[in-house]
Amino acid sequence: MDSPVFAAETLGLTKRYPLAWKRRVVVALNKLDLQVRPGEVFGLLGPNGSGKSTTIKLLLGLIRPNEGEARIFGLGPDDLEARRRIGFLPENPYFYGFLTGDETLQFFGKLCGLRGAKLTARINELIDLVSLQNGRERPLRSYSKGMLQRIGLAQAMIHDPDLLFLDEPTAGVDPQGSAQIRDLILRLKKMGKTVIFSSHLLEQVQEVADRVAIFSLGRKVLEGSLDDLLTEKEATLVSVPGELTDARRDELERLLAQSGFTGANVQFSRPRLSLEQLYLRTVEAERQP
């Protein structure tokens, strides 16, 4: 590969917002260099107002940079060819409340040039994928937040894009929905799609992202693969099934001491479930007939 084409790439991307009344300029994004390879799941992390949404909007061509460049599959974001290959789920999406679920997907499908039987088939497929069967005939104004998020995902995928931008996809969604979205992202990854998503819920990012970039005050402060970033090189965790009796614990400590691991560096503990895991396990059990 002589010149790899990145799914998304930014070079020195900078966005400033002038505050007209205060004679001050807010730097929303400062000289961002980012490369996302095709097939990657890339997480943008950071507190509110750190530049995640600005980055996505710049990559989508919704706003224009003051400096630098954004590229989608090597094309400018204004290029219709580039837009054909991307899907976007905005933060807290609102759609036309007067349209039903089906009509919403039809509308966005037609905007992407889909028509007729092909569009109908695609809509059926997506409705199944995001489990919105009960929302097909209902107007969107009666949707719950989770349903809106799911119809949002469906419209983002209507034209089967290669690159998906998901802005806070799990904000305001219950853990179930959130887990579904996580599964969906993993499924997309398996299909070879690229996903760029932003979140401030770190646990979720951890579960799906290949690589992350952490933002603060408009700057990218850290970037790398999760394996690299999260592996504690100074320790190793060993897990065994069942409860550890005192006798076996002493035996183990002795064995470890023979290998030179002694003192405060050796720790024994019971692994804990995360609350999410507990919640999901309980609710799923209830749902079983």
Binding site: T14, G61, R64, P65, N66, E67, G68, E69, A70, R71, G76, P77, D78
Partner: protein, 266 residues
């Protein structure tokens, strides 16, 4: 995609579009106005005088392009003034309506009729307010001429309308007894587009025995009508061929026109 500092080229393009369009727009509008002038359409200019006569709301209405509706409302006031016996106010309101809508025949025609007939006849019979009969007749005549004035101004503004000529003819005939002028008005009316065919016989009838008793003039007018009609027109029912012929024959006998000069020598 290049970095954007300020979109000067685009601003320049906008300025260019505006600069190119402005002169075209101006020329086009002047052309439109010229065409409207040729159509004798002359809207209304809101002068200070007009503004003083209209309420604020009505002035805004005129400025917002609802001139006709404002005129309609003022016209309703004419009826109100009639019910209150306010003749001069009626006169002023009719003036106002017709200056708002100078191309509405309806307002000129009804305005003139209100003054020359309704007001004039009321004044003539109004013994309570004016016991002196001569003064009453004088006032009645004053209002007839006010009405006549409305018709005349209406004709100036609408030279192709037969209706106002006809109404003026009726006024001369019925209110002033001036059959020669009435005949002239009917004659003018009958020549204009849309005029009912019966008007073409009115001038000659005006000269007849019921009215002016001027047989020679009547003969002349019947003959003129007969020669004006084309052979095809003469056969149309509306032109009353028999009536014209019998009138001419009768007058030729009465006036003892020499045989060689008759239209229909027996």
């Amino acid at each position: 995609m290049t970095a954007v500092r300020f979109p000067w080229p685009r601003v320049a393009l906008i300025a260019l579009v505006v600069c190119l369009w402005a002169p075209i727009k101006l020329a086009w509008e002047i052309g439109l106005e010229r065409q409207q002038d040729e159509l004798r359409y002359h809207g209304v200019v809101v002068t200070r005088q007009l503004r003083d006569q209209l309420s604020q709301g009505l002035t805004i209405g005129v400025l917002a392009g609802f001139r006709n509706i404002v005129a309609d409302f003022v016209w309703l006031d004419v009826t109100v003034a009639w019910e209150k016996y306010e003749w001069f106010k009626m006169d002023a309101l009719i003036n106002l309506v017709t200056s708002l809508e100078p191309r509405s025949i309806l307002f000129w025609d009804n305005g003139g009729w209100q003054l020359a007939w309704n007001v004039s006849i009321f004044v003539k019979d109004d013994v309570v307010h004016q016991p002196n009969e001569l003064r009453r007749l004088h006032d009645a005549r004053f209002w007839i001429y006010r009405g006549l004035d409305v018709y005349q101004r209406g004709i100036e503004n609408n030279p192709t309308s037969y209706k106002l000529w006809e109404s003026m003819g009726q006024l001369y005939q019925n209110r002033l007894g001036d059959y020669y002028r009435a005949a002239w008005c009917y004659g003018r009316a009958s020549q204009l587009p849309g005029a009912p065919v019966y008007l073409e016989r009115f001038p000659a009838i005006m000269m007849g025995n019921q009215f002016a008793h001027d047989d020679w003039k009547a003969y002349e007018l019947w003959k003129e009508l007969w020669f004006r009609l084309t052979p095809a027109q003469r056969l149309e029912k509306a032109h009353w061929q028999e009536k014209i012929i019998s009138n001419i024959r009768q007058l030729e006998n009465t006036l003892k026109v020499p045989r060689e000069k008759r239209v229909f020598p027996n």
